[in-house]
């Protein structure tokens, strides 16, 4: 099922008030998307330093989004507040969990936040690969848990994958559809599975691209040039990997490998080496490419 984005009416005050959990790359990107569409956002991270850095990055990304014409015209950005505790989630109309790609940590945070929110508030776990139903047991009302998989950066990519867990309720799906329509995203609803659709296809492909480099068949640049020039990939898989974050990619591949047994999902040595060296992609200044 797909839904089309709605027209944004700048005159109406937003009926949405988001709490976003996690001040990493995706938390910053999702906050930027929401703020740029006029929604108020409360961003939570346990680490005050990271939260301060996230605030600066959101300011920069709002400018980038405006520069690239990704925001609705004549819309005043929503108000951003930040905090290191979850309490403010009690006032949210929706909570987006965007912490690190670790099922145990996600379950822990979602359990805590589900005890605070008003019944009927959708809890949205943003994940690239962890099945929603693995987390549903941790929350007070499993019908209110739904998955999204925003691509990075969410304000530039118009389509988002929405994942319906076996226990996700219709009202939750409707609430998430309304929220994503307010953010002018096209949504595609899929069923629950490790990696859903996009990661299940893309991540083993990136792993293969890295393996091709590892085996000396071609350089990083050659792989991306061929995938762009011959197959129409917009950036090439290894540039995409740098944008995803190689640490996140390895985490996601591990999730896929552990749950599917597919050898193609076992992270290759080159990827693991880059992560060990702290080369996590664009966000760290280098990965397959150098961004300094």
């Amino acid at each position: 099922m797909t839904t089309a984005p709605e027209q944004h009416d700048a005159a109406d005050p937003s009926p949405h008030a988001l709490t976003v959990l996690g001040g990493g790359v995706m938390g910053v990107g999702i906050s930027t998307l929401a703020l740029g569409h006029g929604l108020p956002v409360h961003l939570v991270d346990l680490d005050r330093t990271r939260l301060d850095r996230a605030r600066d990055r959101i300011a920069d990304e709002l400018r980038l989004a405006q520069l690239l014409g990704a925001l609705p015209p004549a819309t005043t950005p929503g108000e951003l507040s930040t905090g290191t505790v979850l309490d403010a989630a009690a006032l949210a109309t929706a909570v987006v969990e965007a912490i690190t790609e670790n099922a145990e940590l996600k379950a822990e945070v979602l359990a805590e936040v589900s005890a605070l929110v008003r019944p009927g508030t959708p809890l949205i776990t943003n994940t690239s690969s962890i099945p929603v139903d693995e987390l549903a047991g941790a929350v007070a009302r499993p019908a209110e848990l739904v998955g999204t998989h925003f691509m990075n950066p969410p304000y530039l990519i118009r389509t988002a994958e929405v994942i319906r867990g076996p226990r996700t309720g219709e009202p939750t799906l409707a609430a998430v559809a309304a929220l994503l329509a307010a953010l002018r995203r096209e949504t595609v609803l899929v069923q629950d599975a490790p990696g859903f659709v996009t990661s299940r296809i893309l991540h083993p492909m990136i792993n293969d691209a890295a393996r091709v480099v590892q085996q000396g068949t071609a350089t990083v640049e050659a792989v991306d040039t061929l995938m762009q020039g011959c197959l129409g990939h917009p950036t090439g898989p290894l540039r995409t990997a740098d944008l995803i974050g190689l640490d996140n990619l390895v985490d996601s591949l591990q999730v896929l490998y552990e749950r599917t047994g597919d050898e193609g999902c076992r992270p290759c040595e080159l990827l693991l080496n880059l992560v060990r060296q702290g080369r996590h992609g664009r966000k760290s200044g280098s990965g397959f490419y150098d961004y300094h």
Partner: protein
């Protein structure tokens, strides 16, 4: 007017050097940097930051759009316009 033109050329020339340093290739003043086969549009933000730091201008509102950064010549014109607005006390 002569001074103004000299200044514009100097900005354009500096920008072409900056682009060469960042992209390891030379660009013509009117080449569209973001056309097919050119730079990623994400690079445009680096150009915004560079212009603001180098020329003491603030690029905001309707000026913050990709079309102003498509070539060294367009960026040079933007710098000149914002500097003139600032010196006229019109920058708000």
């Amino acid at each position: 007017m002569t001074d103004q033109h000299t200044s514009t050329d100097a900005v354009e020339s500096e920008l072409l050097d900056f682009l060469a340093g960042q992209t390891r290739s030379r660009w013509e003043p009117e080449t569209d940097l973001f056309a097919a086969g050119g730079l990623s549009s994400l690079f445009a933000m680096q150009l915004v930051v560079h212009l603001e730091k180098s020329y003491g201008i603030a690029i905001r509102g309707a000026d913050l759009r990709l079309d102003n950064f498509r070539s060294a010549r367009l960026m040079s014109a933007l710098v000149r316009r914002l500097q003139a607005a600032q010196s006229d006390g019109l920058d708000g």
